[in-house]
């Protein structure tokens, strides 16, 4: 904030104005140790908003979320209509509420990937790192902006998913939940947090792999893996459903958490630990590598 003001004070001297080169001193700057973290965050925000692909991807994630919620809840309502009394008693309207997020998370991780790989693909990683040679700061700035964008938009995505699913169920005379029901607001906030972490997972993969195609396909493969758990031997399948990071993390937005899974906070902890480890690995690689 003050960084911009400090900069404005020195706009007079430029080539052609015969100003002698200044010294390195930047009077009045709030952070004498280097490009301020706030400056880097604002810079990263400018990068983010000035590329249409990432913005469109978030809009796409929102649309996909609503659409799959519609499909999943319509299917659930159909099953309910055909179900026996016993099955009807066991019907949980929370189940279709966030099922679409399993797919939406792929788009969200791609948003994180693109914030990094678009720089490698276009070559702007070079001017970016010459502007911010402290690589840790650059990576932190990207992560902060991804989180600041994805926390609200992820929450909105979850909210849309919930509202669409429950509206469809209600319209088909199937039991449904209201936003005010116990556990619902927490689950929506949890889903927003989950999607934010998935976006950061994408950021880490982007730094590690540098190529959009590689990072998106590996990232998606790993996210979809627990969905294939039933194909694996039973012991392994149980382990995957319980501990695979995105499956574990998904417990945080389960309105009625699965008995075989981790407790919500523990599950989130697994995802946080995984994403943190990947970001540290990304930092180590980014620091040690020539741009």
């Amino acid at each position: 904030m003050t960084a911009g003001a400090a900069g404005d004070g020195r706009t007079g001297g430029g080539p052609g104005t015969a100003t002698p080169p200044r010294s390195a001193a930047r009077d009045g700057h709030p952070n004498g140790t280097g490009s301020s973290v706030m400056g880097v965050v604002r810079s990263e925000w400018t990068k983010f908003r000035s590329i249409r692909a990432t913005v469109l991807l978030i809009a796409g994630a929102l649309a996909v979320s609503g659409f799959y919620s519609l499909l999943f809840s319509t299917a659930a309502a159909r099953d309910y209509a055909a179900a026996t009394a016993a099955d009807r008693a066991a019907f949980d309207p929370a189940v279709p509420a966030f099922r679409g997020l399993f797919l939406v998370q792929l788009l969200v991780s791609a948003v994180g990937v693109l914030t990094v790989t678009s720089e490698y693909a276009s070559g702007t990683m070079r001017p970016s790192t010459t502007a911010v040679p402290r690589r840790g700061r650059l990576l932190a700035g990207k992560s902060v902006v991804a989180a600041l964008v994805l926390l609200p938009s992820g929450t909105v995505i979850a909210l849309v998913s919930f509202l669409v699913s429950q509206a469809v169920l209600a319209a088909q005379d199937t039991p449904s939940m209201a936003l005010s029901d116990a556990g619902v607001p927490g689950a929506i906030a949890g889903a927003g947090l989950f999607l934010t972490l998935i976006g950061l997972y994408g950021v880490a993969l982007g730094f590690l792999l540098r190529r959009t195609a590689g990072a998106v396909s590996l990232g998606s493969f790993l996210l979809l893996t627990p969905g294939m758990a039933s194909l694996f031997p039973e012991g392994l399948a149980r382990w995957m459903v319980k501990y695979w990071p995105d499956a574990a993390g998904a417990q945080i937005f389960a309105i009625h958490p699965q008995a075989e899974g981790l407790a919500p906070v523990a599950g989130l902890g697994v995802l946080v630990a995984t994403v943190t480890a990947l970001l540290w690995a990304a930092l180590a690689v980014f620091r040690g590598r020539d741009v």
């Binding site: 960084a3 911009g4 003001a5 400090a6 900069g7 404005d8 004070g9 020195r10 706009t11 001297g13 430029g14 080539p15 052609g16 015969a18 100003t19 002698p20 080169p21 200044r22 390195a24 930047r26 700057h29 004498g32 140790t33 280097g34 490009s35 301020s36 400056g39 880097v40 604002r42 810079s43 990263e44 400018t46 990068k47 000035s50 590329i51 249409r52 692909a53 678009s118 720089e119 276009s122 070559g123 702007t124 070079r126 001017p127 970016s128 790192t129 010459t130 502007a131 911010v132 040679p133 402290r134 040690g288 020539d290 741009v291």
Partner: protein, 330 residues
């Protein structure tokens, strides 16, 4: 002021830069010259902290680039004009760079104007010509109003108007007291801009020399004389102790006698002179000569032809080519 000390950069088995030491001083345009693959770009990348040196140091104003608090206000660089996102507006490209270094928006308008891009600030570089991208790269380099600027092959792909613009700009920046380092693989380009030359080949320093001193150090190739009375003058000059030979198109090439002396001999014998030109080894020839041993193997064939023409046109008994700073500056 840029200082390199024993800078070495290896990529696996390939040594791109090999124990390079030199200073780039403020107030002059320093040409950074070498054949393709000599290590110019690598050296610049290390200066800018993009690549880590294998050993040795590169500092700007006494500090490593990575330690500069606001690097864009200390060093401006144009490495690759294509390093812009094709769909991010030119203004936004400059904005994100400015924000990261605490540079105000007013300065963005200034450099856009300076680079002649004010009208296209809202357009996307994907639609830009190479010349416009080059201008955007220059605007980027000047964004922080830096006392040190580094340009890698800035005239590549520019039209004549753009080339003149960049030359004038670089000379202006140096005149303001800035340190200006500009790389090129074309000696002729340097002739028009550089005050000082750093010549490298195979990652090693070949010459660190003032432009004038470099030119003076080149061996004379004799004096070209045109006269309608060539046989007569040839005999008179030979009598006076000069070595004379016939050029292909009827002119005489005289060695071992200065042009003033030749003019005097002609006057004494009433020979009309149409031309009297001291002939130095051309800039390109001198450069090829200097970098002969350091051309990358793959380019050897390409240069062989040019080298041959240098050799055949050269008079015997010339001095040793400038090998080091001591050899030339002394």
């Amino acid at each position: 002021m840029i200082e390199l000390r024993q800078l070495t950069k290896r990529y696996g088995d390939v040594t791109a830069v090999d124990g390079l030491s030199f200073d780039v001083r403020p107030g002059v345009v320093t040409g950074f010259l070498g054949p393709n693959g000599a290590g110019k770009t690598t050296t610049m990348r290390v200066m800018l902290g993009l690549d880590a040196p294998t050993s040795g140091t590169a500092t700007v104003g006494g500090r490593r680039y990575a330690d500069l608090p606001f690097p864009l206000t200390e060093v401006g660089a144009l490495l690759d004009p294509h390093a812009v996102h094709p769909r991010r507006r030119a203004f936004d490209h400059l904005l994100f760079l400015a924000q990261s270094n605490g540079i105000g928006r007013g300065r963005i308008e200034e450099v856009l104007g300076l680079a002649g891009l004010a009208d296209v600030a809202g357009r996307r570089p994907g639609e830009f010509s190479l010349g416009m991208k080059q201008r955007l790269g220059i605007a980027t380099a000047l964004l922080g109003d830096p006392p040190v600027v580094i340009f890698d092959e800035p005239v590549n792909g520019l039209d004549p108007e753009g080339i003149v613009w960049i030359r004038t700009l670089m000379r202006g920046l140096a005149a303001e007291g800035r340190t200006v380092l500009v790389s090129s693989h074309l000696m002729s380009e340097m002739a028009l801009t550089a005050d000082h030359l750093l010549v490298i080949g195979r990652g090693r320093l070949i010459a660190d020399v003032g432009f004038e001193a470099f030119m003076r150090s080149r061996p004379s190739r004799g004096v070209l004389v045109r006269t309608p009375d060539a046989p007569e003058l040839a005999v008179r000059l030979a009598d006076a102790g000069a070595a004379v030979r016939q050029d292909g198109d009827g002119a005489l090439v005289v060695t071992g006698m200065a042009s003033a002396e030749i003019g005097k001999v002609a006057m004494v014998h009433g020979v009309v002179l149409h031309e009297l030109t001291p002939h130095r080894v051309s800039l390109e020839e001198a450069y090829l000569d200097l970098t002969r041993d350091s051309v990358e193997f793959g380019q050897a064939a390409h240069f062989a032809h040019a080298r041959e023409s240098v050799r055949t046109g050269r008079s015997a008994g010339r001095g040793e080519p400038a090998r080091t700073r001591d050899g030339v500056d002394a």
